[in-house]
């Protein structure tokens, strides 16, 4: 069989992990088992934390954006102190701080973390692989408009691009501009238009 390393769909199978554990995998297991043995935590607590992390999705961020579009006093609070305003919606960013940056007719914002992969996980869930790639991290600060074009984002002439490098204690969410023709929609319908990428700044919201 010449192609028995390919799945029926023609893609290669992921190889089995027959290699020994890496140093860091051993360290993680050793630390976790010690914490459980010493009664600091339990396997069930660790599992429930993993489930809580997995449950976070861009729907959280979309609810924040839709509320900012429909509730002027919330929008004002969000721009003044996004950590506090989103905590009031039940999205606790923990020890980090959140800054909301707003797209307008004149300004388009983009988020990147050149040093690692800082991302507002409580609002957007796990970052996509490309967000952590060296290509995205290095190119976004160097040629943001080319990166935007590859994501299919065309900005009107005269738009200023503001790139935000998430270098320290802040996390960022882009509040995209509300699409035209959505005047009659309620917050739930609006939230369905808000994509993950529109909150990173590499996309625009869907049109209704």
């Amino acid at each position: 069989m010449p192609h028995d390393h390919l799945s029926p769909s023609g893609h290669p199978y992921r190889p089995d992990q027959d290699h020994p554990l890496t140093y860091w995998q051993q360290m993680e297991i050793a630390l976790r088992e010690l914490l459980i043995e010493k009664g600091v935590t339990t396997a069930a607590e660790i599992q429930s934390q993993i489930e809580a992390m997995d449950a976070r999705t861009p729907a959280n961020g979309a609810a924040v954006v839709a509320r900012a579009w429909t509730d002027p006093s919330f929008r004002e609070a969000l721009m003044a102190d996004a950590s506090e305003a989103t905590r009031g919606m039940g999205f606790d960013i923990g020890p980090m701080r959140l800054i909301a940056v707003e797209n307008t007719a004149e300004v388009h914002n983009m988020i990147v973390c050149t040093l690692c992969s800082c991302y507002p996980r409580n609002l957007l869930g796990l970052p996509p692989d490309w967000y952590k790639s060296r290509a995205y991290r290095s190119r976004t600060v160097r040629e943001p408009r080319k990166v935007l074009a590859e994501f299919g984002v065309e900005l009107p002439p005269g738009t200023t691009v503001r790139v935000h490098d998430s270098t320290a204690d802040m996390r960022y969410i882009v509040i995209p501009a509300r699409p035209a023709g959505t005047e009659g929609l309620d917050a739930a319908a609006l939230a369905a238009l808000v994509t993950r990428d529109s909150m990173i700044g590499t996309g625009l919201p869907r049109q209704p």
Partner: protein, 88 residues
């Protein structure tokens, strides 16, 4: 008039949250945050002094010179106070 600051050019080893591509560049303070503990010491479990954290806005022209894609676009980054010097 926004306050102008220049990022230090020093290149220490260790856990530094000041990107190398911004060292020596001049920008304006967009807002001040913190204070937050110095990550260069915190990362090693040492007692860490707290510093104000400045959001500094640079033009792409300042960061990339003639190679800037669009000179008036901007780059904002969070820089700890001990990395900044005031520019007249």
């Amino acid at each position: 008039m926004a306050e102008r600051v220049r990022v230090s050019t020093r290149m220490p080893i260790g856990h530094v949250r000041t990107p190398a591509y911004l060292r020596g560049k001049t920008g304006v303070i967009e807002r001040t945050l913190g204070p937050f503990p110095d990550p260069e010491r915190l990362a090693y479990g040492q007692e860490a002094q707290k510093f104000p954290l400045r959001r500094v806005r640079f033009t792409m022209a300042e960061v990339w010179g003639d190679q800037a894609e669009t000179p008036d676009d901007t780059l904002d980054a969070e820089i700890y106070e001990h990395w900044l010097e005031r520019v007249e």
